[in-house]
Symmetry: C2
Subunit: 868 residues, 2 copies
């Protein structure tokens, strides 16, 4: 049997959207429900694919098939396409399997010609309407299909209006519009070298082809990329539908409505419309549309019918509907329905309320909310009522979501001090380093002029759930002079700015913000998510405060505590430096003895907050040079502080210099060479655990690539445990990060020695893909643009590369220890597609920054529900 | 049946060396051949393993078993161990499955006591001999088994000699020696708190235990590590053998002999002996041993018998034998035979001559020569007759083998100029950089004070086949003052020094050297190797000169031509820099146009030398900053040269700065961002290939981690090929380096697009193991010492980690393209164990530096022959 390419509306249904496109499938569904839909047929996505296969040509076979459907439609309507006396007019609209609003082409009023326009005028008794329809058709067709620039048409229209001395289109009469049409025809011929087509069937063929072609236009390509639309969604359908007109006078009109409020989610009928208008007029904004409720006064029958239809459709689709309607001379038609887009806030409310209304069940409700959208709910946001546009100075990278309002401050220490005094500040730095932590912590938000989405500022800010705009190249920051200059405007210390970390915008002055709300519907939804998810969701947290936030967000433990962050605090850094400059074991031990009580205190704090939940503590990881000063002045001060000569300190710094520090002397290599560091950390952990009755430390070894390295560190830990009598008293585990490819490749050697694995996907991505997170900026953008990587592999797990290695490691590890507990603690642990991947490959847990915990919980639930 | 632990010599044979140890197995073999071997039995390696299993205790079961064998031996000899009238004396010697000369313990004359010494004196009628034997036994037993320091015994012996006013041991008479024994007994009691054991069976048990223990002593451990003795060789046997004495007067003697000359390989009887001496006297060197030929005059019968035995043994073992013999009162005994150690030169000669003598076949001959040892043959060597010891100043790392004699020179340019004038120089630098290439090329050898085995100097020197001593910390090099100071001695420019790159020694003055010889036996052996090897052996070469050397060494093509090395030459570097500083495409293209003819010329040169053999050309690989100057002064000069301001150049340098350049903007990333670079290189390759009729370029894309990157570069190359009409005319291929783990993990995606793969195991090791070659120095030594890695993974492929990834990639790649050609071009390609691994995993080729080509050929043959 030959392939079927064309479907009448009566032949389709909602679940055929991969053949009919979303719009077409819904038109078909509504038709079959008895909703008043103007009749028509759909040139399917299969036809689009064939069009591309055939070298962007529509085959005779398909033309023949749609012609049959057209003729059937003509028969049904008792009119012929472009008939000179009573022309059938149709609309030709795109419709892919996923909505891509405005991205592809549409032609309305198709079928009008120099002759049929007269028939239309005659038949409707409305000459102006007919010429206006023809004028609009020529404009759309000429622009979309004949590729003549829109402004060529505008110029003519404006010329005619000017000549007549009027301002509005509506002030032109039939003769004027006829004049416009004639001028259009002449211009089209001049610009394209072709006559405006007068054969309606030729118009139709060209229209269908144009829609197909528009699938591949750069704008649509970009939209798909930005919205992560998978490659499997390929091609658009074309909906050919009998035209109805909202611009046939005051009993006609057109509008858009939602079955619930898409911004709040409230269950009220919501929408707007214009009488005597076509859809484009509603969008154009020249006339202010009316609220939907007022339609009741103007046409009660149509209004009641519309209300019933929206109720029916919402029940039918069990989701909030976004509908387009037209009233032609008093009669209501529905032109489109689809599940409505909504804010995160509305999504949560609608999902939860629909469950209590019995429309959907909990599982569906959970799946209704996009995990990534929760980001909007978890941070302080700019008040939507605040007019931010006027204040926007420039845009940087949206490095960490939320809003921040505060005084510009250029120094971390000062930021800290101002915060202590109750001032709100925005820390403004060229870039940040670990020494700025104190100020980042104190600030409302962070602005940097250098660095990318994974720069220190960005990563740390996301970890803190703090707003950050990074890599804002237009911001000229002079840390010495303490000035911030953006497009000529200079801000001094104390001047207010506002950041929007979700958009990257930097604004002048202090704008109003609104706080997040985590209880109510949100809480209910998250409870449901937890019911269905399989993955444990833990958090990356280094301080009791972060841990507290995360637990509030539902973290089931700490999946990564980076002990080195504790080393940077003012009270500790001196001892850390003493340790580093010590030439002998003795000196190192002395310095470590000073650190130990601090570490113990840190761990006790965490154990108390976690109250029995496991805490994965990673042993010291970064290269030692990160703890040493870089600037001449700082070197002098530090040398004095730790009691060595400037020369000696410089020598130490030089000896720690590395060409590729990422691949250098760090991670467990520190403990292999200086076991006393590991000993100190183990002692602090066990002593703390003995002081907090239900502590459950999981000690984690970073950067092991060879099981023998792991074993050496493990033996040190076990020795300390024995010495401190922790054995049998403290409920502890010892596991390995899997972040060096070699560890993944030899996971079957690691597994017997490990209580757990945790994938460090940041480093694993760096080493597997061979690019450094800090340096990839110079080419990674180009790479994502060129689609070498679909998405930045530091944001979403590179499933076909790094992901394969993870799967391999899991298989190897579980082949020798089937019950092995495996997690992930890279930045990916809070990114929905990555969380879903983690579920699929059988991980036990993900860990992410506190503010991403709810996202991960919801994503984990999605993964589990989708798998079923 | 109970395990058998003890074997009489009659019960064993040569192929039982994993049970009996090498020495024991050969003693057994000789016994059964009828060679006059003093009888005895072997406590097997199984017993040693049991000793360790039992917590370093010898079990009753084993004592019982060897006692039975002892009693049988006593019966056979008609004497009892330690009998007071006619004592049986035995030697107790270690003997593992592989020879570990001098590493483990030995006790001779066991069975002597205060009483039996009198019996021995009486029976032999030689009182002095008896007391001397007892004295020697006490000294050995006391030292080895009772752990009393050797010098305690020496002190007593010296004291007695001094008291008597004599100098030599031989000047002591029986009474003196008795006196010595009494003093020994007193000292032993004082030092150990125990009497010297007077029960001969107790002596035997202690002796056996001591030998077992000595297997695990640190010296033996270190030896096994240094000699890469595998863990499977575990434990030593103990040979208990009836003593025969070479010191029973002038009709007795002892010696060592070889069936051929072990240093030249000449087929002559070679050896030396001493009359009236025990083995230790030959070694001690107090008396000068006699040449073996003179034995014929002293004892023709014994000599003839010895010659016949050495002939028999060589025929029997079909290899050159190293034998120990003793003549006791005119009667010849053979105490040991084994395959003799030999120089590389001798190994080749013996192997080849044995084939012509019909003793062995070609395959055996090939397997007889250790591939790694060929290094000795391929480079200029110090004349073995030159007395280097006296001149040795210090020792650095043996970074590249061979010898170099020349005048100290501290500057690359000067080295070049001196060389042009015919002077021989040794380039002496703190460390080298690509800018020193011209001087390295001109020098006889290179000495650096900084950097490891994989430093720039080391890698480049090995590539050039040039002697290099690197990381010589004792050498204080002042490049400004032009002085080299070693242990207080200062050398100025023009002073001669000599380097031994095989040992790392640095010597004063100009020592004599000898040239390598590559024809003759060496050539014959290499022909045989080629006959049996399966792997193709290609070379890493960037210049026609290197390529010529490599072809002479048997390279079957170029496996890696690093095009960037061509960029550093004086005539090109300016254009390279112009390209880098150009802000616009236009400027880059102009600079590239200047480079193109140079590259074309380079490639033509290579194609001509290779004469139809394939040339793998890797596209530009290093980060661009490597081509820019670093020092202030150089920056000024270069800025002027390329016509930009110093600030602009500094800005470019800063913009190219990377935190981890290894993982940065390099490899194919350059071509993805700047396609014009790839275009230029492709043009140069195709134009050159069109000018050389039989050129076969294989173009190789570096650092691809994602097949789409590869595809982008490939498309550029194909476009250029089409433009130049190379299609169908030039026999070219396009392939990918596999050096990023992600490429290996997705090899099934790469394979369909690639004509060949080449593993870049240097980078693959860096990324898979997660350590940078440049930085690993700070911990990798510790890692190899701690046995985390058995060998430096940059020297020998880490088979259990990186190797697994390679196997995985091969499997994936060949799963979609079974005929895929796969090679390796890292430094590992010339390392024997790695070559063997490459053969095993099914590679088609290895590539290595020219001077390693013969090593790789021989190693490849070994691999193929061993597999059969």
């Amino acid at each position: 049997m030959a392939e079927k390419y064309i479907y009448d509306f009566e032949e389709g249904k909602a679940d055929m959207k991969f053949i009919l496109g979303g719009k077409g499938a819904n038109l078909a569904e509504m038709t079959n429900m008895g909703v008043p839909v103007p009749p028509g047929f759909i040139v399917s996505i299969k036809a689009c694919n064939k069009f591309y296969e055939d070298g962007k040509k529509i085959s005779e076979e398909i033309i023949k098939e749609y012609t049959q459907h057209l003729e059937a439609l003509e028969k049904k309507m008792g009119k012929k396409l472009g008939d000179n006396d009573d022309p059938l007019l149709i609309s030709v609209r795109s419709g892919a399997a996923v909505s891509m609003p405005g991205m592809m082409d549409t032609v309305l009023n198709l079928g009008l010609t120099d002759k049929s326009v007269l028939g239309l005028a005659n038949k409707t008794g409305n000459e102006r309407f007919a010429w206006d329809a023809y004028r609009r058709f020529m404009q759309m067709f000429g622009n979309v299909i004949m590729e003549i620039k829109g402004h060529e048409f505008e110029k003519i229209l404006e010329g005619v209006k000017k000549a007549k001395g009027v301002e509005l289109d509506t002030e032109l009469d039939a003769a004027d519009l006829k004049n416009v049409v004639q001028k259009y025809e002449a211009m089209v011929k001049e610009k394209s070298g072709k006559e405006f087509p007068q054969d309606p069937r030729e118009q139709l063929r060209m229209g269908i082809e144009a829609v197909f072609r528009s699938w591949g236009n750069p704008r649509a390509d970009l939209y798909r990329k930005l919205n992560n639309i998978p490659k499997e969604i390929n091609g658009t359908a074309v909906n050919c539908q009998v035209m109805v007109f909202g611009n046939k006078g005051e009993t006609s009109g057109t509008g858009v409505c939602f079955s619930r409020d898409p911004s709040t989610g409230e269950n009220v009928f919501y929408g707007e419309y214009l009488m005597n208008a076509q859809g484009e007029d509603v969008v154009a904004g020249v006339r202010t549309p009316q609220k939907i409720a007022t339609l009741e006064e103007q046409n009660k029958e149509a209004y009641d019918q519309l209300v019933k239809i929206k109720d029916d459709l919402e029940k039918h689709y069990t989701d909030m509907q976004d509908m387009e309607f037209t009233i032609e001379e008093g009669k209501l038609y529905i032109l489109q329905t689809r599940n409505g887009k909504r804010t995160a806030h509305a999504a949560v409310r609608i999902a939860v309320e629909m469950v209590s209304e019995g429309l959907i069940d909990e599982k569906k409700a959970v799946l209704r909310v996009d995990p990534a959208s929760l980001d909007q709910l978890l941070h302080k946001q700019l008040d939507p009522k605040a007019k931010k546009t006027a204040n926007v100075l420039t845009k940087g990278l949206p490095a960490s979501p939320g809003a921040a309002v505060g005084k510009v401050c250029f120094d971390a220490q000062e930021a800290h001090e101002l915060n202590e005094k109750g001032e709100k500040v925005v820390l403004t730095r060229v870039e940040t380093s670990p020494e700025d932590l104190i100020g980042m912590n104190a600030a409302q938000g962070i602005l940097t002029s250098r660095g990318g989405m994974t720069s220190h500022a960005a990563v740390v800010a996301r970890g803190m759930g703090k707003c950050c705009v990074a890599g804002c190249h237009d911001a000229i920051i002079d840390e010495e002079a303490k000035t911030l200059t953006i497009s000529g405007k200079t801000f001094k210390e104390g001047d207010f700015i506002t950041l929007d970390g979700s958009s990257g915008e930097v604004m002048e002055g202090a704008l109003a913000t609104v706080d997040p709300e985590l209880s109510g519907n949100f809480g209910t939804l998250m409870e449901w998510a937890d019911k269905y998810k399989k993955l444990q969701v833990k958090t990356n947290a280094d301080t009791p405060h972060d841990a507290e936030v995360a637990v509030k967000f539902g973290a089931e433990g700490i999946g990564l505590c980076r002990t080195e962050h504790m080393f940077f605090e003012e009270s500790r850094i001196k001892a850390v430096r003493e340790m580093i400059v010590a030439k002998e074991l003795d000196g190192r031990k002395k310095a470590l003895d000073k650190l130990e009580p601090f570490q113990q205190e840190d761990f006790e704090g965490l154990f108390k907050v976690l109250d029995g939940k496991p805490v994965i503590i990673r042993l010291l990881d970064p290269p030692l040079h990160e703890f040493l000063p870089k600037e001449e002045e700082d070197i002098k001060n530090v040398a004095k502080e730790v009691g060595v000569t400037v020369e000696a300190l410089k020598e130490t710094i030089a000896s720690l210099h590395e060409f590729n520090p990422m691949l250098g002397f760090r991670g467990c290599r520190l403990g292999v060479k200086y076991p006393e560091i590991t000993e100190m950390q183990a002692r602090a952990i066990f002593k703390a655990a003995k002081n907090v009755s239900n502590a459950e430390p999981w000690i984690e070894v970073p950067l092991a690539g060879n099981v023998k390295e792991f074993k050496m560190i493990k033996d040190i830990i076990l020795k300390v445990a024995k010495e401190l009598g922790a054995e049998g008293k403290v409920n502890y585990k010892i596991g390995s990060m899997i972040e060096v490819p070699r560890a993944a490749l030899t996971a079957d050697e690691f597994a017997p020695e490990c209580d757990f694995f945790s994938f460090g996907t940041n480093d694993l991505t760096q080493m597997t893909c061979g690019f450094s997170r800090d340096d990839a900026g110079s080419f990674l953008g180009k790479y994502v643009d060129s689609e070498i990587y679909d998405r930045d592999p530091f944001q979403a797990i590179d499933q076909t590369g790094v992901g394969k290695l993870m799967e391999h490691a899991i298989k190897l590890g579980r082949s020798v220890k089937p019950e092995l507990h495996i997690g992930i603690c890279g930045e990916h642990g809070g990114e929905p597609s990555s969380v879903e991947f983690c579920h699929k490959i059988g991980l036990n847990e993900v860990s992410c920054s506190p503010f991403r915990v709810p996202i991960a919980r919801l994503a984990a639930a999605h993964a589990a529900l989708k798998q079923k």
